[in-house]
Symmetry: C2
Subunit: 198 residues, 2 copies
């Protein structure tokens, strides 16, 4: 009642830009980027349009900011799998695929926001395209490196094959929802690794 001073439990009330970023991320992910207008974003964020354009120069810049955060979260999850099994590349991959299988078989999952952005923005000039492409290139290199680390004969081939499974799980998850083919992604990855290590 009488607490008029700075809020202790929430000392930094989320700035408008942060609320916009989170609202945009949810909406872009679930509905698609082009399908969501700035009006809907600010409404969901509980702010107004000028706040969006003060924090971000344009909708496109907001899209880029959202995708960069998506990428950061991806790598955070990925490194979690890596750190869980130090020095064991195959166990790291196995761990990651296990998590992927779990996420990809949940209803309303929409795969990878970065992959989806590549579908929505084929033009190489677009910022969204560039962020997503750069991330996928990094992922490809990372998978190839892990494949080499686990001693695969054709490391690049195994890394690429694993990437195909990952992207396939992303796409299939939003096509089929729960009970889709993504349920077998971890087992398929095992089979490919078996074959490449044999």
């Amino acid at each position: 009642m009488s607490n008029t001073g700075p809020e202790i439990l929430d000392p930094a009330p989320p700035r408008a830009a942060e609320r916009i970023l989170q609202a945009a991320r949810k909406l872009f992910y679930s509905d698609g980027i082009r399908a969501v207008g700035v009006e809907e974003i600010v409404a969901r964020a509980g702010v107004t349009k000028p706040s969006l354009y003060r924090g971000f120069g344009s909708k496109d810049e907001l899209v880029v900011a959202v995708l960069k955060q998506t990428e950061a979260d991806f790598w955070a999850r990925f490194e979690l799998s890596v750190e869980a099994h130090p020095g064991d590349a195959r166990a790291q991959i196995r761990d990651f695929f296990k998590g992927l299988a779990g996420r990809s078989t949940k209803a309303d999952h929409r795969g990878c926001g970065l992959s989806n952005a590549m579908v929505e923005y084929p033009e190489p000039e677009h910022g969204a395209h560039q962020v997503a492409l750069s991330h996928k290139r990094d992922l490809r290199a990372r998978l190839r490196a892990l494949a080499a680390e686990m001693g695969a004969r054709d490391a690049d081939g195994l890394g690429d094959a694993l990437l195909l499974l990952i992207e396939g799980a992303y796409l299939s998850s939003q096509i089929f929802g729960a009970g889709g083919p993504s349920g077998v992604v971890a087992k398929a990855a095992e089979a490919l690794m078996d074959a490449a290590l044999g």
Copy 2:
């Protein structure tokens, strides 16, 4: 100069609706559906807007018509692989994956228009979503049936794994362009079939 009669070299000038359908298909495929306006479509088709709305009730209906044609072409290609190797399910799959690998590693390839439509239209009510989903369900069933036909222990598992590779190639092709991971999709499919047949 004096040729005012019917054109001999082009005796059946394509009806407006047909030209619109083909123009829309190219544009939707290369640029994305939401990114293309009706004005651009009729310009490319060399017709005018009322012709579009006489042949198709709305843009959404045109989208559905385009996707249905895309689906028909897909099955035509698929059956070509099947008929090329009567009674040999594994050879049929191998043939299809070979063609898939070839297409998916060409620059400017944009994967599967039906998969892309699922990304652009997550809402189950949308006609584009329904056409694409129905097709993917059919494809899943078909792959599972072929896996059973070739004697896989876990036929459903193999069929789903092959579907993951296919969708992965679709997505990867438009992410990486030429030289992408889709180049290994046929080899990966072989490895999975080997593992499932023992």
